[in-house]
Point group: C2
Chain length 421, copies 2
């Protein structure tokens, strides 16, 4: 199908032109047909689990021979359960309400023109990911559900697994009468193909990187296509002087320690000097297995606290480590966050409503929280049903992004022969 | 204030850092304060009309000496009326309802978390424009009204006029208690400063070019910052077989000839072979002073029709010239538009509702119209009160863009101590 002797730019241009044509078709497909395609794709993934596991075994063998880390091997590995989970995820996306065709607003002008803004598909989405082969299924499902064509480019370590999952998805999609070009997988693991995809503004409307920080950084650096992503999640939980100590301890320990490796975990705790239970909070974190790095005052609270360096305030640990700084009330906390935040998720813990509103208003992050754990920063927890990613960018979509963020709108003007004077 | 011996990159970094700080301040300013600043700015522009006209006279002298075209000299020239118009425009923006703080949606999750998406300012906007000094006032007003800081970079031919208008605007803004850095004018006309601004993704959230096609093309080519713009307006009016002839003639002549130089003017007319009054329509356009370039069938309708070349279907004339092609019904018209449109504004003229809906659904342009003149493609006509530009891009904002397009949103989560299980 694709001639692998061609240049990466030629390959991407060929795939991009196919995707543009397929996007026109899927934009016109009915909602029922798109949902049907995803249900059939899910079933095909289930049916082909043995072939997918066999393909994955070849990837695992190669990965082990190439000395991949245990963590990467774990992300790569597919077992029956994970494949069933991927299929169930595709079915969940099929069951989501479609944003397409919904009317954002409508007005009738004094001259009788009726104007409405209606949601339509975005067009062609590029997904660049690594290691976890399940992304092949779930990212494709979200893009397709929102009426888009998608070009997938997975990691070389997962190439056999990705091909097997892609083949199964395609079987369902084609059986539902949609063109196979709706979901294309870049057939080469040549890294230059990623570069070509990132520059293909003519063919791709949005790039979503799914993977570690180095992948996201490379994509943001090289892309000439708009990118939806977050680079860092240096999230803050601010414990105000008017916080309830039991709630503060429960929230901070959950925000930091529930899962330390996710982007919504708290990395820095700011404590109001007026908060009297700071030592107990520090001990609770240490007791939960967390390394605490603190300023001088925090170091004085417990001998196990290590000194925080200036770099700690700008570090996303993604680990059982937290930095803690004492601040002089909500304004000082806001000033620290303005200086150090990555604009992902920041929370205030307080019983003082006025201070809470001041914080929610002044902190300019994609997600701001009052008396809640930052670990809730997730599309599923936000009721979106799924998530293509979390955006810390300011344009188009911000915070957890699912189907709506994969659409745009058009203006529909209905007249009765009006001419402009 | 700015040392002109520094490099363009240093200058833009200095201005960008100031703009970022000013953006934090203006994001927190009350709606009343922002409106007050604009009303004071408008009054200052009126009061300083003599100084502005004197500055403009210096620009006009230079421009004449540099041999600028009559059209450019006309765009550059400021007289009492145009200055009064600029001031009135700023007052109109002050009177617009602010989108800030409006709640896009709100939900309460089963765990009791209350989530809402609330409109907030975008941040820092860069405006790159040429010739028309009034943009200094109207673009600044729109950005400020939506709570943003703005960096203006006007054309070298208008530098004295822009400085005088900027100084007047600042007087009002500072008198209202806002920092002067909310509206900065790049003090050098060195073209390298434009390049630096286009790459300043750290300091600028959105660039809006205002000017001719060559300016927009350069901005789109060089920018590493998101750009809101349209490059072309190759707009189509499709006359269906079921169109009312009187309405069709009135709409097409208006769509093409009302003002030929605006981006919403029709450039290509597609006529259904089943439409019986095509020759009369062709004669009406010629009678209105329009040059008609047609396919073979259209050439056969009137001896004055010139042959259309292949390039005509991809040409934005912005002049009293139209290309006309006969097509086989609405599907053929859609196929032509898919192949040639610039995704700006396309219209169908028909009394057949089903065909109209098919066209409105299938044509993927920022604006699609039924029985209306494409010349209505304008923020003022769309009830937005003003317009920072029209976007043919697909992300963030599409079609006419005013205050809402200069905002983003954040997620506000209000809890009562919820932790994530």
């Amino acid at each position: 199908m694709n001639d692998l002797t061609q240049t990466p730019e030629m390959l991407i241009a060929t795939m991009g032109a196919r995707a543009r044509r397929a996007a026109v078709t899927i934009a016109q497909a009915s909602d029922a047909q798109k949902a049907d395609a995803l249900r059939r794709a899910a079933q095909a993934v289930r049916d082909q689990a043995p072939a997918i596991i066999a393909a994955n075994a070849r990837d695992m063998d190669n990965a082990a021979a190439n000395g991949l880390s245990a963590a990467m091997l774990d992300r790569l590995k597919l077992v029956e359960d994970r494949i069933a989970g991927a299929a169930a995820g595709v079915e969940q996306v099929a069951a989501l309400p479609s944003p397409l065709g919904s009317v954002i607003d409508r007005q009738v002008r004094p001259n009788g023109l009726e104007l409405s803004r209606v949601r339509v598909p975005l067009g062609v989405i590029g997904i660049i990911y690594e290691s976890r082969p399940n992304v092949t299924a779930d990212a494709a499902a979200l893009c397709l559900r929102a009426g888009n064509a998608v070009i997938l480019r997975g990691g070389s370590e997962a190439k056999e697994s990705n091909r097997a999952i892609h083949a199964a998805m395609l079987e369902g999609i084609v059986a539902a009468g949609l063109p196979a070009e709706v979901v294309q997988l870049v057939p080469t693991t040549d890294r230059a193909a990623v570069g070509a995809l990132l520059k293909a503004a003519e063919f791709v409307d949005l790039i979503v990187p799914r993977g570690g920080k180095s992948l996201v950084a490379r994509v943001q650096e090289e892309a000439r296509v708009p990118v939806l992503a977050h680079l860092d999640g240096i999230n803050h939980s601010y414990v105000d002087g008017a916080a309830d100590p039991a709630m503060a301890e429960k929230l901070v320990v959950n925000a930091k320690m529930r899962r330390t490796g996710i982007c919504g975990s708290t990395e820095t705790v700011l404590i109001d000097r007026a908060y009297r239970e700071a030592p107990a909070l520090v001990r609770a974190l240490i007791g939960a297995g967390c390394e605490v790095r603190g300023d001088d005052a925090v170091q004085g609270m417990d001998a196990r606290v290590k000194p925080a360096q200036e770099a700690d305030w700008d570090t996303e640990y993604l680990d059982a480590i937290v930095s803690i700084r004492m601040v002089d009330g909500v304004e000082d906390a806001i000033a620290h966050i303005v200086a150090h935040a990555s604009h992902h998720t920041d929370a205030i813990i307080t019983d003082d409503g006025a201070r809470a509103e001041r914080f929610l208003n002044a902190v300019d992050s994609a997600i701001v929280m009052w008396n809640a754990s930052t670990q809730f920063a997730d599309g599923g927890e936000f009721g979106l049903g799924a998530e293509i990613g979390i955006s810390t960018g300011r344009l188009h979509a911000r915070g957890p992004v699912a189907l709506e963020g994969l659409t745009t709108y058009k203006w529909i003007v209905r007249g009765t022969g009006q001419v402009r004077p």
